[in-house]
Symmetry: C2
Subunit: 150 residues, 2 copies
């Protein structure tokens, strides 16, 4: 059954925005969709590490990963958070900047990250993805609400 | 942190296949990724209703939905099942056939579906998506395993 009903603008936009932010804050992971070299959708789960409102999301990844190669060609991406017990979802669409500067690396570094980046915070195989959201829609109770991004 | 590590073929392929099928069977919903008219990834959660091994997945949707319009132009799609407590994920890539025949409609119909299709099983706004899987990869314990589709 469809979870993308026609879009509409409800009166309680602030409540919807708060619910969308709460979904991000409750999520351990989310889905990241990119396009591969053949223009085919590629999906994978990502750890949900850090966000700034609905405007920016940061992810950590291996520089050598498939997604980094894809994003160099096409930076467009979609991120989806969802809570399957309640059919609640947040779709964010935008672009990803690849970051390897010290500030971005340190901002996202956490204990245990050596598992992925054995050379530590300066590991050349460590890249930060800065996802800049352009459009957002929140789905809950069979309704899809477009949220503005400021 | 990345959840798509380099692919490899493990010895215990049958166990991996069983784990992938179990993930489908445990999931209430999954993510469906399509391409919109501008070639941008579009993601939404879908109810997980029926599957045939790893080969076919069926979804139910509104004929008037955005995804049906997108799939008419580009039938390529990705489906992702995941269990966020364990960072376990299954990515399926393939093509979707749009079905409106009686057999497909009845196969997927369930009690309560009138909520989405008020005219019942023959509602013209009811379309069955038949997803034919071409490639599959299962992610668990930091490993990504390619599964063959027979």
């Amino acid at each position: 059954m469809p979870l993308d009903q026609p879009d509409f603008e409800p009166p309680a936009v602030n409540e919807t925005r708060a619910a969308a932010l709460s979904l991000i804050e409750r999520s351990k992971t989310c889905l990241l969709g990119t396009l591969d070299e053949q223009g085919i959708v590629d999906l994978r789960a990502m750890l949900n590490l850090k966000h700034e409102g609905l405007r920016k999301i940061w992810f950590s990844t291996n520089t050598s990963s498939r997604k980094v190669a894809q994003l160099k060609i096409n930076p467009g991406a979609d991120v989806y958070y969802y809570y399957q017990e309640k059919f609640e979802g947040l779709r964010l669409s935008g672009r990803i900047l690849l970051r390897q500067d010290v500030e971005s690396r340190e901002m996202l570094w956490s204990e245990g990250a050596e598992l992925y980046y054995p050379h530590g915070v300066s590991d050349p195989d460590y890249t930060v993805l800065e996802f800049r959201v352009e459009t957002a829609s929140y789905y809950s109770d069979l309704k899809n609400t477009i949220l503005t991004i400021d």
